[in-house]
């Protein structure tokens, strides 16, 4: 797989490293190396290279907002736009902190799909009425309020469990060993947040 600017290509080892990091970015270089049967220095070099070229954008934390005590609601907005203004609307939405995800989609009409969080239904409505509906090019908005979350993960770029060899699977049980080792996704490895 070639990186977009053609600076370098990702091989199967890089892809496997990414797959492992997506499971848990706090694994050590040694643990990853053991799982893949390669040296930890190789893992280090490859991760650093993928960070340098922006393949790995950042290490972040997936928080269960409910357990963290945040009392917010989530809604999915489907925004029908004038095709000429669609890009501008999407760009403006990206700048709004309450909007956490923005996508464009083409069905019968050009649509923007955006995920938004708000304190309650009233602030959600106020936000859409004052910050989204007035954007030039917005024709209509349909909003669905999320009532129950069944799953939330980061999308896996590689998602084939059969690709892990028996050795790798066996090594899985050894995760958590060598706690003192430097973890890939910790703050000292990279400014994560």
């Amino acid at each position: 797989m070639k990186v977009k600017d053609n600076s370098f290509s990702l091989d199967s080892t890089d892809m496997k490293i990414l797959e492992i990091l997506q499971e848990d970015a706090r694994q050590t270089y040694t643990t990853i190396g053991k799982r893949l049967g390669i040296a930890h220095s190789t893992v280090y070099d490859r991760i650093k290279r993928m960070e340098k070229y922006g393949v790995i954008k950042k290490y972040t934390t997936l928080i269960d907002a409910e357990k963290a005590g945040a009392k917010t609601i989530t809604a999915i907005m489907t925004i029908i736009t004038d095709p000429k203004e669609s890009e501008h609307v999407a760009e403006k939405l990206c700048k709004i902190p309450q909007v956490t995800e923005v996508y464009t989609s083409l069905s019968e009409e050009l649509q923007i799909i955006a995920k938004v969080t708000a304190e309650n239904q009233e602030t959600l409505h106020e936000f859409i009425a004052t910050a989204v509906a007035p954007l030039p090019g917005v024709l209509r908005i349909r909003t669905s309020i999320v009532t129950k979350k069944f799953k939330e993960t980061q999308p896996l770029i590689v998602n084939d469990p059969k690709r892990l060899t028996p050795t790798e699977n066996k090594n899985k049980s050894r995760e958590g060993e060598n706690k003192s080792e430097k973890r890939v996704g910790n703050k000292s490895a990279k400014n994560c947040f």
Binding site: M77, L124, H125, I128, A129, A133, L139, I141, R142, I145
Partner: protein, 108 residues
């Protein structure tokens, strides 16, 4: 001669201050009004659900009072709420109120 608040009531406001018609929380119809005249026209054509949604939330009177600065019309719209009108009756009564006020102001 028109007083200051009456003049303001006939102004056209910026896009940010316009009234945006929704049918329920977050569901925007695509219709908006930036002046009393436009508001009157939209009352006549917008989805009836939108009139019901906004009237009973007090959105119309709030916008008329705060943006158009017409306390008199805002109060009259507020007086419609306890009457529990819906559908065509609501549209007609709301339209009558706003059209009457618009005519009054325009003739001053």
């Amino acid at each position: 001669m028109k007083n200051e608040s009456e003049t303001k009531a006939l102004k056209t406001v910026s896009r940010e201050k316009a009234f945006y018609f929704f049918t329920s929380i977050g569901n925007y119809t695509g219709e908006s009004a930036a002046s009393l005249k436009e508001f009157m026209e939209k009352i006549n054509t917008v989805n009836i659900k939108s009139l019901e949604f906004h009237l009973y939330r007090g959105d119309f009177e709030k916008w008329v009072a705060e943006v158009l600065e017409d306390k008199e019309l805002a109060e009259e719209i507020g007086n419609l709420r306890p009457l529990n009108y819906s559908g065509k009756t609501l549209r007609e009564n709301l339209l009558n109120l706003v059209a009457k006020r618009f005519k009054e102001l325009a003739e001053l």
